[in-house]
Subunit: 191 residues, 2 copies
Amino acid sequence: MSLAPWRGVVARALHRNRSTADRRYLQLATVRPGGTPANRTVVFRGFQEGTNRLMIVTDRRSEKIPDLRQCPHAEICWYFPKTREQVRLRGPVQVIEAEAPDDALAQARLRAWQALSEASQRPFLGPPPGTPVETPADASLAPTAHPPATFCLVLLDPVWVDHLELRPTPQARTRYERQADASWTQQAVQP
Amino acid sequence: MSLAPWRGVVARALHRNRSTADRRYLQLATVRPGGTPANRTVVFRGFQEGTNRLMIVTDRRSEKIPDLRQCPHAEICWYFPKTREQVRLRGPVQVIEAEAPDDALAQARLRAWQALSEASQRPFLGPPPGTPVETPADASLAPTAHPPATFCLVLLDPVWVDHLELRPTPQARTRYERQADASWTQQAVQP
């Protein structure tokens, strides 16, 4: 596989926004089983090795999972405040659970778990997200080397990418679309 | 109408993040006519007077319009970087075009137009957003006192609000839901 042409856009934005703590936070939109949209902030965990797929992690008990089971497509909106640019990435999504379809994906899930801080691992061992708080969270839960069954790796494989730069005047916007032969087109569009 | 209980959350977040230039930027998720999600950054234009509805503005030629015609529901994800808190707001959406359904909405649309800077008004007078760039944008287009037909006011009326605070440890999350009698419930939930 070769790096998609928009990979340079993401790499540059991450680099130029390296002084902002939340540059890896992005918003992931999905469709809920009832057909209405959902949207939440997630953390970018890098690209799956040797691919153009973005990695995020989630709890199997979160609402993202039924959303993605029903409609396995998502759109990311990633805004970089320092450089005032937005990257939107849309495409199909694959959820990797404990029963991974192949060794490479099982390894990617394991590495994603091991790359988490203890504070980020802990919620996967606690009560389900979004449920009423009955008792305070147990901060003594001991993280493990192996991911629990609740831990999912989510891979988004972009087929459409839209890069908007607010800073130049007039603004600049470039759209990238993946073709059937896996090549990419690139076009300047109206902001 | 009375202020919903989550209005204090939004007001406090806007105030405490007043030093960050982009505190009024939020991500709006919709469902595209094909049933997949869309997500983009928009600017919060305040609440419609005397209501709990959030106002944003958009171009009638943007992709949001067919999305919202097909599925008049949206979810906002609003992340405040300084205070590290996220507010999600979901609910039905109404799009107000030149033919507004009543005087109050026509007035709200007019005021929203007049509140825009000239730089923000100009794209509504130019070529459609998202179309290929043929000629450079014409910076001489003269903004007008009255909104052009391309100018739409979008109102989101939240029925579900989720407030996540990343800063305390453990994190705190509160969910607000509107009931049939228009009252609101409020519940602490697992982050």
